[in-house]
Amino acid sequence: MTDTLEPRLGWSRWRRSWWYHAKTYAHTWRGSVASTILFPIFYLAALGVGVGHLVTKHTGLVQGQTYLHFIAPSLLATTAMQLGEGESLWPVLAAVKWIRNYHAAAATPLEPEDIYVGKLTWVVTRSFATGVVYTIVIACFGALQSWWSLTLPFIAALITLAFSAPLIAYAATVQSDGSFMTIYRFAFVPMFLFSATFYPLTAYPGYLRPVVQLVPLYHGVALARAAAFGQGAWGALLCHVVFLLAMAVIGVTLGRRTLRRRLVD
């Protein structure tokens, strides 16, 4: 039993963690696939077609778009944010505290940084795949008007990255999930509602607009909208991308440290 078969050290260590997360998901995915496809259909039917009918009747077009076209990209952006939240809080706390499977991983050749990067890249991968499905559904509703909309899955991935990186970093530091619900209620839900998701930024009074522009999801929504419509100022787009990337960079910097501290003391 002790003859050591040389491990085939082909895969870099973080990729093994990515693979492990992917494989775990693959064994338990059935429920989430149906919802990935059905949710955007329900959403666009209810809000885009249903509410959109009223909006069009009363105010006509929104920023030159029908209401369905206007909210379809923000659906993709908010979903990408929610995927980042859902995957990065409870599952990470479970892995470091309840089930402790990250501790098991830390006893193998993997370093905590490998586990962090593997987890983050897996969540981003899943977001990209979800982005592809959503882009197709949105296209089926006829809400895409530009070749730029092919970048929508990448935008979804970027949004998820921006949220997931700092959230994993945070989840690795807590002892209980008490604060998670607070974050949901006072950060995620308001962000979902007020990031110019359901109406344009111009609906806000002038003094509130700069405040909304500091909200992370606003930048995701703005990017997705620009891609779907194929319009937008390069300077503003760059600003959105930089904002989201900055969140990711800060998150990764912190997360590599917090997960190391949690797993390796």
């Binding site: 039993m1 078969l5 963690s17 064994h27 499977n101 006893a107 050749p109």
Partner: protein, 319 residues
């Protein structure tokens, strides 16, 4: 004869792990305060000690997971500060909690964990089959781990730790919470691994387990090593051959110490009974009867590792 001696000397220098003055500090608190030990290849080495003695911190350091605050540690001749991944690739670790993937099947748990070591799929499939047999879980291979009993989960955790065919297996309280049948099965499996040459490091709260499994052990208390040696040797060094347990009805036992002291090497007065540490229990008992000391019950037994343990680490509860 000289060949055998030479071989023996060679073996005794073949350390798989060497620790010198290991210290682990967490802020102001020192969990481990300078411990030294060496473990031979093929040996089963035990760590005993009450809660908070520094066992788990020591285990984490020798698992190449946490770094020593000071001191030197070599595992397989490598330095865990710089060669952690290499060392961990050759280790098997059985943690106190099972840390299994509850939603996945028994076989998936083994094969997926093996991917952390970057082992090819074909090899993993083969080894998983072999380990399922070893852990007596072949019939449950496709069941969800969530549905397994505690003993089965424990065996699976041990099987999982063997997926990379480790040279050194580290077991942190491997049988805590198991029923006697499950414990004996586990001991038998660990003994089999030992025969196959796997070096083992074990922590346990069960003294009978330590006597069964360990060639050599250390007793830790308050972050230091207070005794080291083979179990039998520790017993003869730190206790007498036999122990008499006397009970005297409902009386307070407090006055008994001075009365009994002349008859034993050591007398220990406990709230419910008095322990006499002696070499020949029956002889002493006869002397006591002759002297008119009549307990309500008297039990003569062999000294055990538990006596040594309690002597060295005290009877006070540590939390």
């Amino acid at each position: 004869m000289s060949y055998a001696l030479g071989l023996h000397l060679h073996m005794s220098n073949d350390y798989i792990l060497e620790a010198q003055d290991l210290v682990k500090r967490f802020g102001e608190i020192s969990a481990v305060k300078g411990v030294s030990f060496s473990i031979h290849r093929g040996e089963s080495f035990g760590f005993l000690g009450p809660n908070g003695a520094g066992k788990t911190s020591t285990m984490r350091m020798i698992s190449a997971v946490s770094q020593p605050s000071s001191g030197t540690l070599t595992i397989f001749g490598l330095d865990p500060r710089t060669q952690g991944p290499e060392i961990r690739g050759r280790l098997g670790v059985v943690p106190q909690e099972d840390t299994l993937e509850l939603e996945l099947s028994v076989r998936q748990n083994l094969e997926m964990f093996g991917r952390y070591f970057d082992l090819p799929r074909g090899v993993l499939r083969e080894r998983a089959t072999e380990l399922l047999d070893f852990a007596q879980l072949s019939e449950r291979a496709n069941d969800k781990v969530d549905d397994l009993s505690g003993g089965m989960k424990r065996r699976l955790t041990i099987a999982r730790a063997l997926i990379n065919r480790p040279e050194l297996l580290i077991l942190d309280e491997p049988t805590t919470g198991l029923d006697p049948q499950a414990r004996h099965l586990l001991w038998e499996r660990l003994y089999r691994l030992k025969r196959e040459g796997v070096t083992q490091i074990i922590t346990t709260h069960y003294m009978d387990e330590a006597e069964q499994l360990c060639d050599r052990l250390v007793v830790m208390d308050h972050g230091t090593i207070v005794a080291e040696g083979p179990p039998r040797e520790l017993i003869s060094r730190h206790s007498t051959r036999e122990v008499i347990e006397l009970r005297f009805g409902t009386d307070s036992h407090e006055g008994r110490h001075d009365q009994l002291a002349p008859y034993a090497q050591r007398v220990e007065v406990l709230p419910d009974r008095v322990l006499l540490y002696v070499d020949e229990g029956d002889d002493t008992l006869r002397q006591l009867h002759a002297a008119g000391v009549v307990p309500t019950s008297a039990l003569v037994r062999r000294s055990s590792l538990e006596d040594v343990f309690l002597r060295l680490t005290g009877r006070t509860l540590v939390d």
